[in-house]
């Protein structure tokens, strides 16, 4: 379980997040939507523990947290296999050989067999992101944090990575926070969504997608996505500059 209770966070005296409260049960997926700069990534950093909140509490009982960033963030001087095995090195249970074997199995599951010794510069953008997904899942995370990982990818690649992610979630159910700009993505992957608006960012809407993911058809996805889009469009953009009036 992950719980945010009345969390606020400021940077250089500017309040970014104000009074953020939500609860994420195990194996559930929560999407966070909102304009750029509203503080969505800050929520992920607070959940990962790489940032501390100013006030309020972030409680988590997850032992292992996986993170998929917008960019793959692979070490350029390490092979795909070494990049995935790296996050297992702190393990007190697995031997070095076990770590490599587990990393290799994860790469195979993501269709990267034969590319394990390639350096990131030798892989395509989609392959690099698959290595990043393998790295996040190899630790068998209780909580997975995803920060717009499909931004900038072409539609076909995005759809195939989303399908891969759905299969991984079905294989190993994991609580997940999914930050995205795309309401369709949110409905496709999440069980619920929260929308952040304003400056500082506050939660202004919460929507539960009652239908299980596997039963959602195109009509349901479009209908729910429209609902989210309407809320997003009707919220004033906190960063829009006021044009001077003559």
């Amino acid at each position: 379980m992950l719980e945010f209770t009345q969390v606020t966070k400021s940077f250089s005296k500017r309040v970014i997040l104000d009074n953020i409260s939500f609860r994420l049960e195990n194996s559930r997926v929560l999407a966070i939507l909102g304009p750029s700069g509203i503080g969505k990534t800050t929520i992920l950093r607070l959940a990962a523990g790489t940032l501390k909140s100013d006030t309020g509490a972030v409680l988590s009982d997850h032992q292992r947290v996986g993170y998929i960033f917008q960019e793959p963030r692979l070490l350029p001087w390490r092979s795909a296999l070494a990049n995935v095995a790296l996050v297992l090195k702190g393990s007190k249970v697995l031997t070095g050989k076990d770590q490599v074997e587990r990393a290799m199995l994860m790469l195979k599951r993501l269709g990267l067999e034969g590319f394990e010794n390639h350096y990131p510069a030798q892989l395509s953008g989609g392959m690099r992101q698959r290595v990043a997904i393998a790295r996040a899942f190899v630790i068998e995370p209780g909580l997975l944090l995803m920060d717009e990982p499909f931004t900038g990818l072409d539609l076909g690649l995005k759809a195939s990575l989303q399908q891969m992610l759905l299969e991984l979630l079905a294989w190993r159910p994991t609580a997940m926070i999914y930050v995205t700009h795309d309401p369709m993505d949110a409905v496709l992957l999440a069980d619920a969504a929260i929308i952040l608006t304003g400056a500082p960012g506050r939660i202004t809407a919460r929507i539960n997608f009652d239908l299980p993911r596997e039963h959602r058809d195109q009509l349901y996805i479009h209908d729910q996505a429209m609902k989210l889009t309407r809320i997003l469009v009707e919220s004033p953009d906190p960063f829009a500059k006021q044009l001077p009036i003559d």
């Binding site: 990962a48 790489t50 996986g66 001087w77 390490r78 790296l86 350096y119 510069a121």
Partner: protein, 258 residues
């Protein structure tokens, strides 16, 4: 370089060979203009060089200089990297070392050498100290800025996956710093060789290439001076070339395809 076609590589090699031949041609022409006492011809220089290297005492000079150069390079690399990394992590240490770095960069090499001789006298330790102090700021500055410019996003990723501090140093800092610092390391190595010879001359060592150059100057043996200069050029190019080879071998393995 690996992406260049064979034809381009051959053409580049031909142009640099032409550059060397042009310099030799100018040298030959100068030797006709001036007396051999001032400018010996390339042929006379080669003969002098073979003669020099055959003499056992001259081989001792070469070994002495190389021993000092190696010692200076080791001490300079270790101190620059250690202090550069510490300064990169801790701005207080950086501020503490800033005046020393600025002074060493500003002070003329000869002035520092004379100061060291006046205070500490003559010896290997003194020549090594001079070379280390003068080459230190170059590598130290490069290490410092390399540590500062390590990819913050990458570090955030390692922290998010709870990768320990030691592993962060080994997996993120060390390769990033090494790849950023290696070109400066090559420059610093070449600089150390030149500074060492200068220090040997100024300190007045009893052995070393610097000492041999001083003797040649006293005896007006310009062919010997030219011969020693060629030995030094070969030494610098060998050390720089060797280091550059290692740099390229290391960087090209993971930068291929970029």
């Amino acid at each position: 370089m690996s992406n260049l076609t064979k034809l381009t590589r051959v053409s580049l090699w031909l142009w640099s060979t032409l550059g060397v031949l042009s310099l030799v041609a100018v040298w030959q022409w100068m030797s006709h203009l001036y007396s051999p006492v001032f400018v010996p011809s390339p042929r006379e220089t080669i003969v002098a060089m073979v003669g020099l290297l055959r003499a056992p005492e001259n081989r001792t000079h070469v070994y002495s200089s190389f021993y000092r150069i190696l010692l200076s390079l080791t001490i300079m690399s270790v101190t620059s990297i250690a202090l550069g990394v510490m300064s990169g992590f801790n701005p207080w240490i950086q501020q503490l070392l800033k005046p020393l770095k600025d002074i060493l960069l500003a002070i003329p090499p000869v002035a520092l050498s004379l100061l060291v001789i006046f205070i500490f006298g003559v010896g290997t330790v003194q020549t090594v100290t001079i070379a280390v102090m003068l080459a230190f700021p170059l590598l130290y500055g490069a290490v410092l800025s390399a540590v500062r410019s390590v990819d913050r996003d990458m570090l955030e990723m390692l922290r998010a996956f709870e990768v320990g501090k030691t592993l962060q140093l080994r997996e993120a800092y060390l390769p990033a710093v090494l790849s950023a610092v290696m070109p400066s390391m090559v420059l610093a190595a070449g600089l150390t060789v030149r500074l060492m010879i200068m220090a040997e001359i100024i300190v007045g060592m009893g052995t070393g290439i610097g000492h041999a150059l001083s003797l040649a100057r006293v005896h007006m043996a310009t062919d010997d001076i030219f011969a020693w200069m060629i030995v030094m050029i070969v030494a610098v190019l060998t050390i720089e070339g060797g280091l550059l080879y290692l740099v390229k071998k290391y960087l090209l393995t993971w930068q291929a395809g970029r």
